[in-house]
Subunit: 537 residues, 2 copies
């Protein structure tokens, strides 16, 4: 049997070419459908051969790469970070070779890299799920809290075969999605459906997935705040769309004004752009503002009226530092306005990298997708499934941050102390740095009401601007490199986030450990004074 | 100070629109560069407004999504899996409602979902790295092997600040890349550079990254084997390129013939396609063949001559089941031919999901990138950095699989026993299933020399083909759904992988636990007999 069939396969093979896939030379009533299936699978080869005749493969150079990749920029890991890494190597090789002892990375929201300790309960559960065979051992009782052991059992029971090493459902383990949905319900007071949750390796892949879905060409626009987190500009560039900016109003604490949205939407449409979605980052990155509920209602109403998908980046929902502000999810706001699942397409992004937990390296997160038709949802599912699933530890952690220990649990007190300690310290650090920045000549800095960043503005003297230009640098990039070379402090130039033309800023995280803040303030203040003395007009 | 600057910002803001970004109405010698930077950041809005005049946002429907997403298909998680999930729910709700007691997922290489146990040493190290504060506790000595504790310390010392919860370098933690490079050197006998390693969340994102880099338009082609693993067709579709097929020769055990490559390359070039890269999957998926070294040399030579990037999917490098075959990495083959880093652009993909470890849920993997210019490498780095980094547990696991316990380590014996037990059992299962398939009427099945799959061919009776057509199904999809409904066994129709037109196959993993194999063979044999009895011409 094997031989006969093998012979027939070989004959068929000899006849099969690229041509035959699309122009079958032996059509029969029986195999039209197979050709159709195969042709779909094999992505039809374009028939237009009117273009260049030489299609031999050119050498692989930057010029022959996908131009969308070349266009993409990602400032928070850009030039300034490469310089920082070089200086760090210098310091290791030749201690004392620079006027500072260490590099202080204030360029990226990466709390644990600066000494923040993980939440014990979360790590206990992760360790137990990684190595479940110790769950039954008596030594484990002495090493781990009782509720972490109980939670690990609960989670394992939600995983088919307790297999934490298996691919899960492409949206993530169902039981974990149940837990997350319950956490969202408890937060918002409105129902959440586990089938709306897509677990992802951090929020970034979720953002890419939505951009991939929505962007067809450069004529599709995505509305983004300026300043924005450069993931958005990078992702829009990679997917070949157009970033349509709306400016946050620095004078009103980075206010998001509907009149600005209207003006920019009109301008984009006149340029031939179909604006498909509105990105709102709340609390703001890099700007740190927390939107008022009233303002959020207006934004929801605007999206509804204009038919925009609302992409709500809510990864800093736990990071609020001022008593007068509270986080409200856009879903809660929309539901409280009476808008249900059918009324407004809304995606909320959440991540385990931020909050008080700051578990950036675990790459956990989710998006809650509501208001899409089943057919569109199916397409999102398909894209998710091409990458199989997100990592299970990250999935587990995403469920934990949405369902932390409760009053009465053995870990509750220590958990609360850890959480409050981190958040209160962050609030103090934000205030200290904000005050220090506002005391500098030519610098103003809005409050960090939330998130992890300050985004001060500097009015540079003309002489500094000219010096930067002569070095082919933007003035804020020049300032940041001077600051780094003088103090070891790494901040990101405002140009990487976008800013009103002619204004200059930098982004600085509030994450260095509290005992280091006074020295940072001193160094920054001294550097700034010298810089201004050097360039004052 | 704050007030004054805020006022100036507000004035600037009022004047800033989409237009002003690109046609600054207040140009000055000082701010040309800022506009340039900002315009680059904000992805220029196309100026061609000759197209449709109405750019108000259309309702979000499938028809208004990115057509590349719609085009993409991913068979291993497609229709047949949805049916399986439905049947599983039925069985839970109404036990006895189907003629089988459980669903046996043979559709995907997901060993731990079918009961394979993780390698103890790997999980010990992961758990300790997740919760390092237990490393110093005396109870830990009783629970964990001495070498896992030692390895955890080593790994923590390689992570800046021992912060397993921090984002790492975008290519992955340097110390782990050192370990992986050493593992590659030990495997190949040729040097490996840690700076060539990019750690990724499994191999899939690495493949996407390379497709994103190489594909500019539908006129760029990627050479793929047929049958292929559908990640490739899906990724090429998502990035808008053209899959250029080359057929593996079923008659010679899925041989990869250079004459076939030449023929198809010529045909594609005549169609106007610039073929940029050659994908080789070795050991083969879904076809299970292991390439001979001689054959690999010819492939390397072909890529060199034709200027193709060689994309080597080597994720099954540990899965070899026949004594007459051995795995040789393409890098080793190229180096042994005297080709160095400058001679041939080569990417090797590796994953923690496969091998004997099968840690699919951990989403760990890497690509080793050699033969690219520094400028091209910088672009790969940039794309990697947009997603910040891959998950740290996956990174750690990738280092462990490339550097497992050695003779003399406390865990060595138990580790070896676990590893050998899994691989020997897989080899027995492959043989049993292969023999069973070859004993079926109208079925032939090549050996699974490696990987985790069998890809038998069925010559369907015309009556079965007609029945499938009347149901608008491909015959192999019809067979797979009948098999599932009758036995609970889930296999993937060959149409999902591509096959020579007019031939029909399915892919079946060899992963069900060994004690279940006899029952699977019985069920499959009985089903097949009945199916043939029903349709025999």
């Amino acid at each position: 049997m094997r031989k006969l069939v093998a012979h027939r396969a070989k004959t068929l093979l000899a006849n099969a070419t690229v041509n035959s896939l699309l122009n079958p030379h032996r059509p029969s009533p029986n195999n039209n459908y197979y050709y159709y299936r195969l042709a779909r699978l094999l992505t039809s080869i374009p028939s237009d051969t009117s273009m260049a005749s030489d299609h031999s493969t050119p050498p692989l150079t930057v010029d022959s790469l996908n131009p969308k990749v070349l266009k993409c920029e990602y400032a928070v890991r850009g030039e300034i970070v490469s310089l920082a890494q070089k200086l760090q190597q210098d310091l290791q090789a030749n201690p004392g070779s620079h006027p500072f002892e260490e590099i202080i990375y204030c360029n990226i929201g990466n709390p644990q890299s600066l000494g923040q300790q993980p939440i014990t309960f979360f790590r206990e559960v992760l360790a137990l799920c990684d190595h479940p065979s110790i769950l039954d051992r008596s030594e484990t009782q002495g090493l781990f809290s009782a509720d972490s052991i109980e939670r690990a059992w609960q989670i394992l029971d939600q995983i088919p075969g307790r297999a934490t090493g298996a691919y899960s459902h492409s949206q993530g383990i169902k039981g974990l999605r149940d837990t997350i949905a319950a956490g969202i319900e408890a937060r918002d007071g409105f129902p959440a459906d586990p089938n709306d949750i897509f677990l992802t390796d951090g929020a970034s892949p979720a953002v890419h997935m939505m951009m991939q879905l929505l962007i067809r060409s450069e004529n599709d626009g995505i509305f983004c705040p300026i300043p924005q987190y450069p993931l958005y500009s990078a992702s829009i560039a990679l997917h070949g769309g157009t970033l349509v900016p709306y400016y946050l109003d620095e004078a009103t604490g980075w206010g998001l004004e509907i009149s600005e949205l209207k003006k920019q939407l009109e301008a984009a449409r006149q340029k031939g752009i179909t604006v498909r979605a509105l990105v709102v980052i709340n609390p703001g990155n890099p700007t740190g503002q927390v939107l008022a509920e009233e303002n959020q209602r207006d934004i929801v109403e605007f999206c509804k009226k204009e038919g925009l998908v609302l992409l709500a980046d809510e990864v800093y929902q736990e990071n609020i530092y001022v008593p007068e502000k509270q986080f409200h999810s856009f879903k809660k706001v929309a539901r409280s306005m009476g808008y249900g699942d059918k009324d407004i397409p809304l995606v909320s992004f959440q991540s385990v990298s931020k909050g008080y937990y700051g578990e950036c390296g675990k790459r956990g997160g989710y998006m809650e997708v509501t208001g899409f038709s089943p057919e569109v949802r199916e397409q999102i599912y398909k894209v998710a499934s091409v990458n199989l699933c997100s990592n299970i530890s990250g999935q587990i952690l995403a469920s934990l941050v949405m369902s932390p220990p409760k009053v009465g649990d053995e870990s509750y007190e220590s958990y609360s102390a850890e959480k409050d300690g981190i958040l209160q310290s962050l609030a103090r650090r934000a205030k200290t740095l904000e005050d220090a920045l506002n005391s500098l000549e030519a610098v103003t800095c809005n409050k960090a009401e939330g998130a992890m960043y300050l985004f001060p503005r500097i009015v540079f003297p003309n002489k500094a601007i000219k010096e930067a230009e002569s070095l082919k640098k933007a003035p804020d990039a020049y300032y940041a490199s001077r600051l780094l070379n003088a103090t070891g402090i790494v901040v990101v130039p405002g140009s990487g986030f976008g800013q009103v033309p002619g204004t200059w800023h930098f982004r600085c995280t509030i994450l260095p450990q509290e005992e280091k803040i006074p020295a940072i303030v001193t160094q920054l203040t001294e550097f700034h004074k010298k810089f201004m003395d050097e360039f004052r007009d």
